[in-house]
């Protein structure tokens, strides 16, 4: 299935049901949700308007409802209608159509980080800095804030992140006496070792259909392929030294079938996850609760470790997924919209709910350091405090990593160039990288952007 990656991608949030949430989580939540939380947030605001106002919010699911309820309680004149208008690509398609028609555009929208520049480029998002959003900037983890803002303009308030880590099957590593890799060099040695020990298994699957996962790895390798260079002007280099380093590493591993290139988020891949075909999943902070849902039978066997490093002893991270809520340029209530967006992520009660009940990795410094959150022991991971590990790597993500202003094309052309070469098990992936770069640059120019290729 060669669909565009963001059709069923990146789980930008880690949502779990109350059913799946363990007893530990429930009690933790009860502690963290004081009913008097309201005291923290009652600040003077224009949303105490005399006339009742109604806003529409497009969510990927109905999970925004509790946060909306908390907000409405403090602002009796505001009604926010939560509508699940579609998830992922379906939502973006609808939004684009509505923007084109100039009607039916919601006030508040659920959006992944990689898509934000694309909607910004069509001037569809509200610049929240005009309504005071910069005042909350220093409450956020710096790299996270940089995902939704540039040059003092703010286009969304981050809600969840996806900092990367290596999720692995401790039992498999133990069974074959393989050390947990801390560098990529060691990872390659381990991968070969595992193949010899278990011909049916792979150390990892590097999905040939997953643009976002590939970009996460590129980010960790030090690549910054998209650099804004002024109005409608970009520097694009998908063929940089860092990108070449990345594909030179994976190419031979793929060609020798030391690692697999199965498409991810497919039935076969889910089966591989629960059957032990893949001993690691290079993934992100939303992955643990996702994994619990699809591979229940492997509960207790998994652990989370810091990503293998390019240089021994370094600590460089990456990010896959993550997202924000944004406000549309056409909203009639920009001030209230801004306040609500700030509220969702920074209000202690709402932030705790997001982190503990909806399993979204916190974006604010305070919540990401909250003891209740960090001390959660997850039985699926053998009682490991996985949040603590993800919090540890939170500051290792590159602050300067930006997304392109035409993300859908970059993602789909990845599939037809690098993705195809990976799927064909080519050892030398550099020509495909060059082809991807050319396709993206010429597309950018056709779209009217000034594109440099430094």
């Amino acid at each position: 299935m060669a669909r565009i990656t963001n059709d069923r991608p990146r789980a930008w949030r880690r949502v779990a049901t109350t059913v799946a949430a363990g007893a530990i989580l429930s009690t933790a939540a009860a502690v963290a949700l004081p009913s008097a939380g309201a005291a923290h947030v009652a600040k003077p605001s224009q949303s105490h308007a005399a006339k009742p106002v109604a806003l529409t919010l497009w969510s990927w699911d109905s999970f925004a409802t509790p946060e909306v309820k908390m907000f409405e309680k403090l602002h009796p004149n505001v009604r926010i209608n939560v509508v699940n208008a579609g998830t992922g690509l379906a939502e973006y398609t609808k939004l684009r159509t509505a923007i084109q028609a100039g009607s039916g555009v919601p006030d508040l929208i659920d959006m992944e980080f990689p898509e934000m520049r694309t909607f910004e480029a069509t001037n569809s998002l509200l610049d929240l800095s005009k309504y005071g959003a910069n005042a909350v900037a220093n409450q956020f983890v710096p790299w996270v804030w940089s995902q939704t803002s540039a040059n003092g303009q703010v286009y969304g308030i981050p809600l969840a992140t996806g900092q990367m880590a290596m999720i692995y099957r401790a039992d498999i590593f133990k069974k074959y006496g393989i050390p947990i890799p801390t560098t990529w060099a060691q990872f390659a040695t381990d991968a070969a070792k595992l193949r010899t020990a278990d011909p049916g298994g792979y150390l990892t699957d590097i999905a040939s259909n997953d643009y976002n996962a590939f970009m996460g790895l590129a980010e960790q390798a030090g690549a910054t392929p998209f650099i804004p260079a002024g109005k409608n002007s970009w520097n694009i280099n998908l063929n940089s030294t860092a990108m070449q380093k990345l594909v030179s590493y994976w190419g031979p591993l793929i060609a020798n079938k030391t690692v697999s290139t199965d498409a991810d988020f497919t039935t076969a891949w889910y089966q591989g996850m629960s059957s032990g075909k893949y001993a690691t999943w290079i993934s992100a902070s939303w992955a643990p609760s996702f994994l619990e849902g699809i591979a229940k039978n492997t509960s207790g066997e998994w652990r989370v470790a810091v990503l293998p490093q390019w240089t021994a002893g370094a600590s460089v991270g990456g990010n896959i997924g993550g997202g924000a809520y944004v406000a549309s340029k056409t909203t009639k209530y920009p001030q209230i919209a801004t306040e609500f967006l700030e509220f969702m992520s920074t209000n202690p009660q709402s932030a705790a709910y997001l982190a503990l009940q909806e399993f979204r990795f916190p974006t604010t410094k305070v919540e990401a350091a909250s003891p209740t959150f960090l001390q959660q022991k997850v039985p699926f991971f053998g009682g490991q405090e996985v949040n603590r590990l993800f919090a540890k790597v939170d500051n290792s993500v590159n602050k300067n990593f930006a997304w392109s202003p035409f993300n859908d094309f970059v993602a789909s052309s990845f599939l037809t160039t690098v993705g195809v070469a990976m799927g064909n098990k080519q050892s030398n992936l550099k020509p495909s990288l060059q082809a991807w770069q050319s396709a993206v640059v010429s597309y950018g120019r056709r779209q009217g952007f000034t594109v440099g290729t430094k």
Partner: protein, 308 residues
Amino acid sequence: MTLIGRAERRLFGHLGISHHAVERRHGRRPSNVLTLIMLVMLVYFALPLFWLAVSSTKSVTQLFHSFGLWFSSGGFNLVSNVHEVFTYDGGVYVSWLGNTALYAVVSASGAALLAAAGGYGFAKFNFPGKSVLFAMVLGSIMVPFTALAVPTYLLLSKIGLVNTRWAIIIPSLLSPFGLYLMRVYAAGAVPDALIEAARLDGAGEFRIFRSIGFRLVAPGFVTVLLLSLVATWNNYFLPLIMLNNPRLFPVTVGLADWNSQATTGSGSQALYNIVITGSLLSIIPLIVAFLFLQRYWRNGLSLGSVTG
């Protein structure tokens, strides 16, 4: 059923094919090679359906931890899956099924009626611009419906019908292919002499259509009805962009939404089993419609080829 027989006789008579010839063709001895090819095709088409049926008996864990084409030993969960499909998210699946049925039945009846009237008109009347208009109808068959979805959205948003049931029903009422089919059918099935006779007896044009023309083209009408029924039942892109309110979704868009919710991180919501079971349930009405009405289908599918 007599209608069909009559129209068929008339049609074949009109074309100079004797009933005898038709029967002889049906009775030809089957070829082994063709039978084999058909068997291969049968497996090819039936296997996904079989997988769907088998998978709908599995829980999420069983889905990803057992052989795909056979039942899992870990328990038979069809009943609990069905229960979950109908109760998840406040029973929204029931609304989706109802919406799909409503959109499909209303659109298909409307489309078939309009096509019958239009086709009859094209076949039996001469008026200025007839060939230009018909060329436009033929031309619009070539334009895929999906390509028109966004322009249709822009039009409907101007008159405030987006995110209402009308946004699905109105565009689905037009079936250029149905109109073409009905013109061909009406040309063969309604003798000019009969219309002349009715006119001499003093019947108005509309009455002639209603009491004579429509009855004679009824088999073609049923074919167009079924074609549009299936097209609307399976329509995905139009409702996807037209509707924002999940309560108005048809089952196609709803299931796709559940599926993307499951793959975007709410895995522990265990939605895969209900997506699969929901898919199985959603095709049952169509299968039933096929089984009961397949002779109309066969008739309709051969229409164009015989008279075209």
